[in-house]
Chain length 232, copies 2
DNA sequence: CCCAAGGTTATTGTTGAACAATTGGGCCCT
DNA sequence: AGGGCCCAATTGTTCAACAATAACCTTGGG
């Protein structure tokens, strides 16, 4: 989908809507477009065209930009404009440094039945998606799994940080050609982790999670390396 | 210090300075003023007066507001304006839920000598401040201790989350009359924790940290309860 | 033919002013 | 005294302008 198409669609959606807090609304629209991959990483978000497409003023658009910038969803280069963020190898390392810290801890230190059934339901959804080869649904369910896992810790701060990280992960998936069945092994892995949790073996679950996270990071870094050299 | 005084000072500071990214500069100024307690929690930040004092336009000021809002440093009430945030009891509970999760984990899972000397230096500073009854320096050193402790985990995401939390904590201290030597017991506590760490007893250190954090939360909630009833 | 230097153009950064929308308080009436 | 209405003040949003910066294009030289 080209930038022009996105602009056209946004314009169509915008018509007739009343926005209580316009800046928030604009930020939300862009966030969704970016999350869905309609606006690919690296795309320049020119102010003038977006203003017109969204039917808002440049000032309001810029307010939305500062929000998205705070969320690391876009990158801002002075006097050059804002671009959809393109995570670097170092960003990936930062992401997984956090995840290897937070997710095992969430497994170890949560109440014994803090939403375990919910986790199992998500795993089941992922398995269905895997069986029907629905890559998108599989990726979505995997994200949902990790989000729910962290939510068990019961901390809003942690939840919003995790939300940032998952948004970055989507950008990672969009910004390079990852093997389509990258997600598949982790569906099984998540099932295994939930199984250990059900048995009450938290330490085992945490250890397995650490292992899988390390593996995923290595895979992504390798894939990034490949696409970097390939692009030269 | 009244709002008028702060405005006057800001005006004096602003003269002759060139600001590369004006919005960022304004946000920084306000952030510092709020952190230092010059702008007390609940203070209304009227747009017009601030514009004039800072020598920036309303639009730029509003850009700074959205940044500070994202950091939970100010509260925004539609059509009413922005106010310096006044943490609620629930905010305090959220803060400590995060800290009881993150800080013990940081103690347990950091490299054996990840900045241990730095932690000891901070504790020493806090002890000097306690001996000379310098409350402000004591509070500052305590904050520094927890910041450095989390930094040992090596995650930028965790660092910036912790930065948000510590900013909130400053607001808590400013928004209610906490016993002046509230901080004193924790200077000793932090020394104890570092001592255990030096012996290699991470589990003991983590346990003690959990204990102290629970104690601090209870104290703050009680103090908040007191000032709430007192104010009626 | 390639490269470098300089000017041109397009885009962003910032400001100021204008108008609509909403809130809170004062005023009047009962 | 209490309730409802109007007005003033402030915020939300837009528009238009100008300065500053960076990318592009042209031109001249090797």
């Amino acid at each position: 989908m080209t930038l022009q198409d996105v602009l056209a669609e946004l314009g169509a959606t915008a018509k007739g809507t009343t926005h209580a807090a316009t800046g928030l609304w604009v930020a939300e629209q862009l966030r969704h477009r970016i999350a869905d991959g309609d606006l690919a990483p690296g795309t320049k978000l020119a102010e003038e065209s977006l203003c017109e497409a969204l039917g808002v003023s440049r000032n309001t658009l810029r307010e939305a930009f500062t929000m998205l910038h705070a969320e690391h969803v876009v990158e801002r280069i002075p006097n050059r404009g804002v671009f959809v963020a393109r995570p670097s190898a170092d960003d990936i390392r930062q992401i997984y440094r956090l995840r290897r810290f937070v997710e095992p801890a969430a497994l170890l230190w949560s109440d014994d039945d803090g939403g375990l059934a919910a986790l199992e339901a998500i795993v089941a959804r992922a398995q269905v998606a895997a069986a029907t080869l629905d890559i998108t649904a599989m990726a979505g369910a995997n994200q949902e799994f990790h989000r729910a896992l962290v939510a068990r810790a019961g901390s809003q701060y942690l939840n919003s940080t995790m939300e940032l990280v998952l948004a970055q992960m989507r950008l990672v998936f969009h910004s390079m050609a990852v093997n389509p069945d990258f997600h598949a092994p982790y569906v099984a892995g998540n099932a295994q982790i939930v199984g250990l949790l059900r048995e009450g073996n938290k330490a085992g679950a945490a250890e397995l999670m650490t292992h899988y996270l390390g593996r995923a990071e290595a895979q992504l870094l390798a894939a990034m390396e490949r696409s970097a050299t390939h692009r030269r």
